[in-house]
Symmetry: C2
Subunit: 329 residues, 2 copies
């Protein structure tokens, strides 16, 4: 299998320029002072070890826009005009709908008929057609629509161009913090972790890239330890509140993780909620459970991380008021 390269990611950066927000790195001194070298940080009075990459501030509230937009941009114009289709009940749905509207092309999102009305409405509000089907029929229905209408399927993570697009997060991290020692990135299907690791390792090989996932959906950590792809049944992965990280890796993302990611570590549900609370009150950021696992991982595993500056990628911020109130109360 051909893995994503740095030049693929650089091409993606050119495509998404002006569409995705160039999110800043934000210092998080509240997470503890630096154990590493001071340099410029000392001048700024910081001594900060943890920096946040708030992808929660993208339009549609998640990094997914990067991969979706880049992938659609690479479809030949005559084919692209027929539109795009995906099955998703999460952030990928809104990212693809947003992208299709930007290109002025049709978009169908196939969602499980058990999806929340809020997510259905949000996707429709972005101009996509939403088709509700029983969960086991999602893949088939998606393929059917693609065949019937000549639409291109844009998968949420198991796709070369999608991974390249997500990798732009890694490019920006190294550009903004050239001496970064460690990058923590949430792992669900593995698209974000794959892309970020490709970019970071190419530009700064000495940096460590670590995936973080919930213990309750710890399939990636198990796969890395076993040296082979292990998939957990949904009955297990659906126990975590981190709804964006319940997905298993694909062969493609596992291949990237094995080559470019140093380790995958896990966090508990209580640690995820604690990180969400700290991010809201001290970081002034609303982050969804899947996005907060990276900070939870920092707070839990800090002693085992390399000394120096660490970046935690906050992958998304789509969380309801009720869930926010619960973690803040």
């Amino acid at each position: 299998m051909e893995l994503v390269t740095l030049s693929d990611v650089q091409a993606a950066a050119r495509n998404i320029d002006g569409v995705a927000v160039r999110t800043p790195l934000l210092a998080a001194p509240w997470a503890g002072a630096s154990r590493g070298p001071q340099g410029e940080a000392a001048r700024a009075g910081l001594g900060v070890e943890l920096w946040l990459k708030p992808e929660s501030l993208q339009p549609v509230g998640a990094f997914k826009l990067r991969g979706a937009y880049h992938t659609v941009a690479l479809i030949p114009a005559d084919v692209r005009a027929n539109g795009v289709v995906a099955h998703s009940s999460g952030n990928h749905a809104q990212a693809l709908a947003f992208t299709a509207r930007a290109f002025g092309i049709p978009c169908v999102i196939v969602m499980p008929d058990v999806s929340s009305p809020v997510k259905i409405a949000a996707t429709r509000a972005l101009g996509a057609e939403v088709e509700l089907v029983p969960p086991p029929e999602r893949l088939n229905r998606c393929a059917e629509i693609a065949a019937e209408r000549g639409m291109t399927v844009v998968p949420p993570f198991d796709h070369h161009d999608v991974i390249a697009g997500q990798g732009t997060v890694g490019l920006e991290i190294v550009a903004d913090l050239p001496d970064v020692a460690c990058v923590l990135v949430p792992v669900g299907g593995g698209g974000l972790a794959s892309g970020v690791a490709v970019a970071v390792k190419a530009l700064r090989p000495e940096a460590v890239v670590i995936g973080i996932e919930p213990e309750l959906a710890g399939d990636a950590a198990e796969s890395m330890a076993a040296g082979e792809l292990r998939k957990w049944p949904v009955e297990l992965t659906y126990r975590t509140i981190a709804d964006g990280l319940r997905t298993a890796l694909s062969e493609r993302t596992f291949a990237h993780l094995r080559k470019y990611v140093d380790a995958v570590l896990t966090v508990t549900e209580a640690e995820i909620e604690g990180a969400m609370r700290e991010l809201a009150v001290r970081g002034r950021l609303v982050v969804e459970p899947s996005g907060a696992v990276s900070v939870a991982g920092y707070l839990r595993h800090r002693a085992a991380l390399p000394a120096g500056r660490t970046v935690a990628v906050l992958s998304g911020g789509n969380v309801g008021a009720e869930a926010l109130v619960r973690v803040l109360s």
Copy 2:
């Protein structure tokens, strides 16, 4: 009185580079579609009219870092070495403490003895000495300390250099959104509004700059209408939850507002809390009441604003978990 100029603000931008975060402009499509020209927005599928400038993401959680840092940077090095002093119980205290630590100089913050333990602790955590005095003695004690220790007083808003520093927010807005039609900015003491208006009007004279304040602390709106500075007693202004906006204008900031700000409009307490809720759930940003008045102003006064792209400055994000829970529940 000599007013702040564009070149003062440009000098401030050079001083704060690498210290203050270059906050991005974030689209807020949830606040309503555009009535103005589409252009690039149409390409990006947005049609967005409201854009947010999240100064809540600065270190210390507020724009105050810009003015404090620039002002301290301009103090001659031999004088600066003696340290800085201010009286403040709010965001200016933490901004000055952060700045002093960055320069490696002493810092004393005089606070009312009724200040919350959280704010006192936060200021001490940044390395400042905190001196608690009865509220009426704050100014005198601050002057005494300055005289005794050779420290320079850095006022929260009534100072040429502080206003110039806050103006860098305006520079960045016009740089990122050259066709901006309207800028909404919170008004308390008026330092932020003064600086932003100077920069925006110099670079884009056709843009409208509007100050927003709580009805319950509507002294700036009254002053603008009367054409003379009107100060409200603290018994009145302390009714608003927007604790950063209870201060009266100074002669200096009023002079800037009269020359460069087109109008000052007011919002209710319920509108402020509604804006905080929308910003958290749909904007994924934790914003304090004083910072949310600009969005509250947009939502209330939208029909009266010029067509085209509007920027709301979110001045700060320092709000406790309890207050957040209240507006989200």
